[in-house]
Symmetry: D2
Subunit: 353 residues, 4 copies
Amino acid sequence: MIFGSDNMVGASPRVLAAIQAANEGTAPSYGADPWCAAALAALGEVFERPVQAYFVSTGTVANSLALAALVPPWGAVLCQRDGHVLADESSAPEFFTGGARLVPLAPVAGKLTPEVVAARLANTGHPPHHAVPRALSITQANERGLVYTPDEVAALARCGRGHGLRMHMDGARFANAVASLGCSPAELTWKAGVDVLCLGASKNGALMAEAVVFFDAALARDFEFRVKRAGQMAAKARFFGAQFGAWLADGHWLALAHGANAVAARLAAGLDGVPGVRRVWPVQANEVFVVLPRALGERLRAQGAVFYDWPEDTLPEGQALGAHEMLVRFVASFASRPEDADALIAAAAAAGA
Amino acid sequence: MIFGSDNMVGASPRVLAAIQAANEGTAPSYGADPWCAAALAALGEVFERPVQAYFVSTGTVANSLALAALVPPWGAVLCQRDGHVLADESSAPEFFTGGARLVPLAPVAGKLTPEVVAARLANTGHPPHHAVPRALSITQANERGLVYTPDEVAALARCGRGHGLRMHMDGARFANAVASLGCSPAELTWKAGVDVLCLGASKNGALMAEAVVFFDAALARDFEFRVKRAGQMAAKARFFGAQFGAWLADGHWLALAHGANAVAARLAAGLDGVPGVRRVWPVQANEVFVVLPRALGERLRAQGAVFYDWPEDTLPEGQALGAHEMLVRFVASFASRPEDADALIAAAAAAGA
Amino acid sequence: MIFGSDNMVGASPRVLAAIQAANEGTAPSYGADPWCAAALAALGEVFERPVQAYFVSTGTVANSLALAALVPPWGAVLCQRDGHVLADESSAPEFFTGGARLVPLAPVAGKLTPEVVAARLANTGHPPHHAVPRALSITQANERGLVYTPDEVAALARCGRGHGLRMHMDGARFANAVASLGCSPAELTWKAGVDVLCLGASKNGALMAEAVVFFDAALARDFEFRVKRAGQMAAKARFFGAQFGAWLADGHWLALAHGANAVAARLAAGLDGVPGVRRVWPVQANEVFVVLPRALGERLRAQGAVFYDWPEDTLPEGQALGAHEMLVRFVASFASRPEDADALIAAAAAAGA
Amino acid sequence: MIFGSDNMVGASPRVLAAIQAANEGTAPSYGADPWCAAALAALGEVFERPVQAYFVSTGTVANSLALAALVPPWGAVLCQRDGHVLADESSAPEFFTGGARLVPLAPVAGKLTPEVVAARLANTGHPPHHAVPRALSITQANERGLVYTPDEVAALARCGRGHGLRMHMDGARFANAVASLGCSPAELTWKAGVDVLCLGASKNGALMAEAVVFFDAALARDFEFRVKRAGQMAAKARFFGAQFGAWLADGHWLALAHGANAVAARLAAGLDGVPGVRRVWPVQANEVFVVLPRALGERLRAQGAVFYDWPEDTLPEGQALGAHEMLVRFVASFASRPEDADALIAAAAAAGA
């Protein structure tokens, strides 16, 4: 009943086997090895076009470096109030961008909309006195477990583009979004106007590997300098390449995401039947947000269930917690099994009975 | 005949096995797992005292973050002219320190000496107009394959301490130095006045893992914030822990280093007998620097030998390259075998004949 | 009818005369001159205690450097949504703090309250993943022309102090606030818990001079290094000293502020009688915010009146602009005369008739 | 006998009068005033072409911002070992550039030469691992009182240009160099390949005013954002404009520099005749460097003479101080009179007798 985070499990066996296989022999350092080359080629196939991609060790550095490539230090990045780049990465984005600003926007029904973005852009202020919006950042799937459809992404990108904004997608759970939407990775990114995707593998089957994927090579100019200065130019980069290669091969990444999504859906459906449990958001990826009676939550934890409290201010507009309620998040990982969900549902049902 | 760098090989089998073993099951994220705890305990044993240690993915970020903990943005770090922090890490140290300055010092017989440091410190300038020296950084083993004895480290630290300088040791090849000197890790670090050691495992048996080891807990205050902002707080930190645990267990790290050092010594001894080859520095760790006739170097490369050109300005004072000579570096790794050295020696002898 | 900003006029005659007087002869550079010494002594008298103070050329750099002394790069500064540090200084605060974050808070009745601050602090997040609040910044008088009483300042400081927050006061119009409240500068600052005051003279009689005033000397440690690195250690600092000395002497600074406040009050009272004009905030310093019929505003401008449009989202909660209305700000300076206000009132009355 | 620095005097009467004249009435803030416009026009005339120029308060911030416009954070700036940007501005250049590196070069006969620059550029290293030279910075007149002829500037710029380097000139004493060389400001800057000149007025007649002058408008792109973020967008910018306008009008700036240079020359000639005094560098601007018997130096100071000790390592190659000698610098300012020089010479002659 471990649903704390999808980063609490290890790597998928295929990814781990690839690391082991790549361990043999010598190879050039710093990315000039065949595994990195193969992974880049695989990314090109997945996205149906040549891309510029750089491998790094965490999502925080991936996002921060990507934003640094999109906005100058006097620029601003519009993002959702509870977006990971704003809420969970300390001030790393400020650090890597040289002091650019993240501007929190209130979501509508859990996501950013062109209307919200346009309203903020209408009030542009007086440069150079004000930080100038230069990028829009969305999370896919987002921090409330919701996905943006290709049309929604395109509408947001179009809105931003009209004001000179670049489009960044934090794809820590991009695989879950693609698996959920059934569209192509291309449709969800560059075809919809995304300039840079931070493609996360760590939460979905890799050991430690993220890719910053540029669809516009011009934006990647000098990016290797940023990677180096960030201390992310790994000597044994072949292991990044090996992880991504295995992860992307034969749709493994999507298969893993499908598994996680399915368990999340199963869990949500089961919890819907438990009295006193109130679902907060539709389950569109691998995260389930529910309001629980506090006593129920505590009993579940006493039985070994792992899940996180979530801030009340992420509830849908107009909703609030009751005096004895808690908002919690369950996350299914690629390694979660249907029986894990069933066990938690059963425990909840028993506890509530 | 691959002697390009010790980062051109993978992980040792024991380290790899540990990664595989750690892959099972779920664990708390961000370092709150048993593998990290065990690795920290192992570091405490190796250094014979409790330490504060933080795991990161590259030597560049390890050094840069360590320096950031030692000097304010208006501080200066004294280091050898060709020290890795100055010469090979782009301006990452400036980035992570918020703009502190690295001050290049000319070595004597390949290493920094208290006299060189003292001469620079005698000329302190007028704060706040001048960058104020606040740390001394040495590499152990250094960029010329030389090691500092515990006494030499202590003399440097003492010299710096008298002017308020902290002592940083870039230990990307610390294992090779310990193996070479036969002293204890404690004698070579905190007992000699080192404040922070960047302990490199990546070059000597790990996949991708470095530790920033603080011997003075006060200096580590807020360091976790630096790690987080650097994008180095890995979700699946257990794999850092697993690597370090296996690497340190049963003296594995030193056994690996002994192996590399022995091959380097064998290679150096063999090359000494090749006409036209001129040894540049004593071989005290796993690196061999020689001047080769350019024709010989090219013939060796044509036969598959891999080694790097090295800048002429690192030759001992007063020496220069002849018109048809080249300065090159051979590095033995933990995976190098005696027969690799023998093959290169034989090829050199044959080519020179 | 020039009410655009209090920075549209020059220096007061007394300040200018002091500059001229200080121009004679030679003096040590970089602040080691008698004028700076005298100005520091005057600040000590005004604040009834020894202070550490540093002179700089603009309010932006004063605020940014002060915040840099209060929060680490991973810290957050709580401030009003439309506070000058957040809304009007580009990302200078991020630049000087090394990437700290400004957190916008919604005001209540135009000002921050302990409740608003406490609500934000209740949700502290999980360090080091989240930016950690380390300072509270208020503007006195604030961007809506409102002043905080000593009790209000103390309540805010107390609220912050309980969570480890330092207290910063942006005093670009501190003189106007003191003149308005009739309290002592000490009561409004350190006695109420303010750690650092950015005391602005530029808007109220100086040519170009601001002081960063520390009431806790420990916080000023190393501040001269920050000043130097900011490019603010002026060679001919005597002119900063001369400006501040003359400005503070004999209550000149408060006399100037009283003059500005009085004209603002006169203007507000007069405009209250003009049909269609709606006052937005009480006039507590030298700024007047009113909603005008757009046609009236345009006619006034056509007659030479100068005033700024102001963002609608600074209206009191629940208020909005009508279709043909505009929100505007009038600012009186020390050089404004009663007849300037009368002229504008008359023009408005005539235009509205 | 005050020859400590040319920043120990105030403003020239004409500059001060201009400040006073500009104090009347209201004007738009932040540089949109007629004085700034007139000063920009005057700069265009002086340099015989349209320029982009920005006024700031100190030379440190002028140089640092200019370098930030020329090099990325991973770039390096080549400069003389004892250049002001490297030796006297704390780590402000690192701060404003976001962590770029200053690379010290040893001068030949007191100045940089194309040979020295070319030698450093020949060793370019391996990007992105090494900081990449992107700019060359020279001081005119330099820190040893020497000037670069237009031909010398052009040779340096050409050398750098071949490697993609931009050319920065620290012109804190540019007026003295122009006055000394008798060439046109254009010949000494853009016609010789200078991209950005930091034109200092503070040391030569202004109160506090420097201009960053771009000859290539493309390089000035977004520069106003840098100025704003630096806290250098002065509200009452008209006073910068007024200072520069008066300073440039009718060749006033050059007349002031001629005066300073003449006094320096007179002083040098006189000291040449004093036994035991050894001149170090030709006097080409307003600075005189001499080696004095320590006893003589002390006696002069006892009589009220003011001059600075200078670091021994700036002596010409191969020279050293004797046991009882000191290296000192005398600087003449625009306000220095011939009789000041004569007094010092007489005192020296008497003391040495």
